[in-house]
């Protein structure tokens, strides 16, 4: 519990209005999209780097935890204050500081909502490609801290690929600038990319310089249904082998299709065992050509149905399918544990078959969908958490899934991060030497361990 004296000091830094310490309002800041809960001692809303710096310096001096928080849409418990302390909500740092059209860069504060930035740059003909499905709520700061991916990663990469430089406040209160405002730079170690994806455990990000690209002139959305997973995955490989890198290549398995079928007035063939959603973008003429190539590849690969959306509205219906999947799965069971493993693309069929088999064995449905172009599968173990047996089965399944994925040369998380939920499994993937180095890096940045404790590095609580 934080002392009255410390709270007073913090109040003095940010002003009474920007501190919450009453229990009722605190609850809202104790959870994220994982629905895990923990109560912080207080929530503070700093307005600039200087305030962040003063609070962090105080935290290092007095030894209380500080948990940076964006929108709380994280899927691995990154923003959950498991060790109590002060939640540092970045929402007031929400300005787009500059959009530099001549150099295709922009500078933003971390609290800017991802979709707001996308819109602001699109209004002037530019494009910020990272596109997590949570764009309407997530913050850029949270995206950078998690290295968020999203639908367009196949062609455009992930958040990391767009971060050129950062202003960050270290746990000791020092403010530093990392990286460059140019398209490239190799002077010294890459502190910028070390902080990207560090889940708020190394520093608090207070400003971000991002690379932008020109907005593609046209896009074409297509859908294809396949009798089984293997022909869908085979299609993905064929598309790549035909040297087409689509903007989006999403995969939905049979369970997912069954769940969305009734909700949408999209005729999904009964026989369909898998669906691909494909989008290509670029110059108008080129998009036509690529779409045509995609169609012929899908047909060669035994698609039972192929459709190219003829306009924005039709494309929108297709995206609705994708967006509706996640919530519609609750039809199967009241709770869900989502994983986000990545495997070499050619091994996806094996993973889905494995899920069917193990799900069957334990009597739990395990729908999978995801970013097929990256080999990134969102695996959803559906269960009733109140049922101890099901909970135990789910944990067994998770471990078996991770073992399988790692064995294939894959990773336990492609975009959601380690946070709390995957911390116990990190040692399955990262060798001892790697974990040692990571924890020493943590120590170099945060000698007192005040910044987002309990995350990434597993601590038995």
């Amino acid at each position: 519990m934080i002392s009255e004296e410390v709270l007073k000091k913090i109040t003095h830094i940010v002003g009474q209005k920007h501190l919450i310490a009453g229990r009722d309002e605190l609850a809202e800041y104790g959870s994220d999209a994982t629905k895990l809960e923990a109560m912080p001692d207080a929530v503070v809303f700093p307005q600039d780097s200087e305030e962040v710096s003063l609070i962090l310096r105080l935290a290092t001096e007095k030894g209380f935890p500080v948990i940076p928080r964006g929108a709380g849409s994280g899927m691995s418990g990154g923003a959950v204050p498991v060790k109590a302390g002060i939640v540092m909500a970045m929402n007031r740092l929400d300005r787009i500081l500059a959009i530099d059209e001549d150099n295709l860069i922009c500078k933003v504060e971390p609290g800017v909502i991802t979709a707001d930035l996308q819109k602001a740059v699109e209004d002037i003909g530019l494009f910020y490609p990272p596109d997590p499905a949570s764009v309407n709520i997530s913050t850029i700061g949270g995206n950078v801290a998690e290295c968020a991916g999203g639908l367009r990663a196949v062609k455009y990469g992930v958040t990391r690929d767009y971060v050129l430089g950062l202003t960050v406040v270290l746990p000791t209160g020092e403010i530093i600038n990392t990286g460059v405002e140019t398209m490239k730079g190799v002077a010294g170690y890459d502190l910028t990319r070390l902080i990207v994806g560090s889940e708020g455990t190394l520093a608090v990000i207070t400003a971000i310089t991002l690379r932008l690209v020109p907005k593609p002139a046209a896009r074409r959305t297509m859908s294809a249904f396949f009798p089984d997973v293997s022909s869908a995955v085979d299609t993905v490989s064929r598309i790549i082998r035909n040297r087409i890198i689509p903007t989006i290549l999403e995969f939905l398995d049979r369970h997912c299709l069954d769940c969305v079928r009734e909700e949408l007035n999209l005729p999904i063939p009964r026989k369909a065992g898998a669906m691909l959603l494909i989008e290509v973008d670029g110059e108008e003429v080129l998009v036509e050509q690529e779409a045509e190539k995609v169609r012929s590849v899908c047909n060669q690969a035994k698609a039972i149905k192929f459709e190219a959306a003829s306009g924005k509205e039709e494309a929108e219906t297709l995206w609705e399918v994708r967006r509706n999947v996640s919530p519609s799965l609750y039809k199967l069971r009241p709770h869900k544990i989502s994983e986000d493993i990545v495997v070499p693309r050619s091994r996806m069929t094996e993973v889905v078959a494995f899920l069917d088999e193990i799900g069957h064995k334990y009597g739990l449905p395990i729908p999978a969908f995801g970013h097929a172009g990256d080999g990134n599968l969102h695996v959803n173990i559906m269960l009733n958490k109140e049922n101890a047996g099901e909970m135990e089965s789910a944990l067994t399944i998770i471990r078996a899934l991770f073992e399988k994925g790692i064995h294939m040369g894959g990773t336990i998380t492609g975009e959601h991060g380690i946070g709390l939920t995957k911390a116990p499994y990190l040692e399955m993937e990262i060798p001892r030497a790697g974990l040692d180095l990571m924890s020493r890096i943590k120590k170099a940045f945060d000698p007192e361990g005040i910044l987002n404790p309990g995350k990434i590095f597993y601590q038995r609580i």
């Binding site: 150099n103 170690y189 890198i245």
Partner: protein, 459 residues
């Protein structure tokens, strides 16, 4: 180095993979920069286990180890400035796997850039960074320096393609980072921390690279500009137009003059020549893009625009750019090649600034570079036997760096810090950032045996 240590090294790599003959030590004392210093010995490692043994031994005995690829570095990164053991990785030169389905290649560090290129051709894929030294430089060196090249504006640099590594740490432990997949956010990004670390954090013994479909068609054009501002604006507007050229190179007046004096290319003697290439899968597609670029050039007062009709013609246009380095290298006894990078919109200012600096210090500086990502290569030509000129060169270099930083740029876009730019690190990085880098170095290499004295990390 005592005989006992030499014997121990021979036990690890075999006698035939050890050398301390003078002739070898002399060749290992250089890279492509102006620095040199002899090592005590050199070894060729063939396995990660051998690398591990060497590092363990060196760590215990506190002997410097300098990983080395082809030694084409331009800032003294692989020069054994404190002596020690040169660890040559050229024998680890196997391409372990190419998987088109998974869009990746797994290679050993000693594979030469062009050898991977050739192996990918039958699949229609490529590894895009394309450094101009591709015929000789190694992939290990490319990763350790985060090499870039002509195609940077469209395809990025080495960093964007490294998915995972196998690395040997100074305590001898062999570690894997990243994964053999397109993305991962599992723990801190050790892979990207090692990319560009110039052999100071660990020795890379295996690399997993993302590869890309290789466009089969290109269009090429050359445009001349009588005025630098127009050229600068043409560059910015091109990048904004929605077309991203696969190459966008600039040659400054001094470079053009030097080329004309030393070849029979007869280039128009203007303020700037811009070379542009667009790529795709059909000529129709690349011409479509090129026409848009040409529109932008015309709008910005390009004097003369030549479009190549066939491959041979395109190659002719490229000879000017490709001959720049070698032509300039022959003019004086010595040269240094810088690689500052500035925001696109400041290229014209930078080019003007370079001319002013050259004039002020009465020294010849010719500039060319990858305009598409703001990366300029001023090549300073001087007589290394004339102390006055050496002084001018040093003063001009310092001013170039300062100007680049003032324009919002960086010291180096691709060649790295090494020895040449070590003393300028604090121009770009504040003291706290320098401290963080030093702690990282210490974390990986507590006894400072791995490529010591590089990157300005020593206090």
């Amino acid at each position: 180095m005592d005989e006992k240590t030499k014997k121990a090294l021979m036990d690890i790599v075999g006698e035939e993979n050890f050398t301390d003959s003078l002739i070898d030590l002399v060749s290992y004392s250089y890279d492509a920069s102006e620095h040199s210093h002899r090592p005590s010995c050199a070894v060729w490692a063939e396995t990660p286990e051998q690398v591990s043994g060497i590092l363990k031994l060196a760590d215990t005995e506190r002997i410097p180890v300098i990983p080395r690829g082809a030694g084409t570095g331009l800032s003294g990164m692989s020069v054994p400035i404190e002596g020690g053991i040169v660890l040559d990785l050229n024998h680890m030169n196997k391409i372990l796997k190419i998987s088109i389905e998974d869009r990746l290649a797994v290679v050993q560090p000693g594979v030469v850039y062009d050898d991977l290129e050739r192996a990918l051709v039958p699949h229609g894929f490529f590894f895009p960074p394309d450094p101009a030294s591709g015929k000789v430089c190694t992939l290990g060196g490319n990763v350790a320096t985060n090499a870039g090249g002509l195609k940077g504006a469209k395809y990025g640099t080495t960093r964007d393609y490294v998915l995972g590594l196998q690395v040997v740490l100074t305590d001898g432990r062999i570690m894997r980072t990243g994964s053999k997949t397109m993305k991962s956010v599992s723990g801190y990004d050790m892979t990207k921390l090692l990319v560009g670390s110039e052999g100071t954090l660990g020795v890379i013994t295996e690399i997993t690279l993302k590869i890309s479909p290789k466009p089969t068609a290109t269009s090429t054009a050359l445009a001349t500009f009588g005025n630098l501002e127009d050229a600068g604006r043409a560059l910015s507007e091109t990048m904004y137009s929605g077309i991203i050229p696969s190459a966008l190179e600039i040659l400054g007046r001094k470079t053009i003059l030097a080329i004309n004096q030393n070849t029979d290319l007869n280039l128009p003697e203007v303020d700037a020549i811009i070379l542009v290439e667009t790529d795709g899968y059909t000529r129709e597609e690349t011409d479509y893009q090129m026409n848009k670029v040409i529109e932008v050039f015309k709008k910005n007062n390009a004097d003369d625009i030549k479009q190549a009709k066939a491959r041979e013609e395109a190659e002719k246009l490229w000879t000017a750019r490709k001959s720049a380095y070698a032509v300039l290298a022959r003019i004086k006894t010595h040269f240094v090649l810088e690689d500052i990078t500035v925001p696109m919109s400041r290229i014209a200012e930078m080019l003007k600034g370079v001319e002013a600096i050259a004039e002020r210090h009465n020294i010849q500086i010719a500039t060319y570079g990858h305009a598409g990502d703001g990366n300029l290569h001023p090549q300073i030509l001087y007589d290394g036997y004339d102390p006055e000129q050496v002084k001018s060169m040093e003063a001009a270099t310092a001013e170039l760096f300062k100007l680049s930083i003032d324009l919002g740029g960086t010291l180096t876009g691709e060649h790295g810090i090494g020895l040449s730019k070590a003393s300028f690190m604090t121009l770009e990085h504040d003291p706290v950032a320098m401290d963080m880098m030093r702690s990282i170095k210490k974390t990986f290499d507590p006894n400072n045996i791995l490529n010591p004295a590089k990157m300005g990390l020593e206090e």
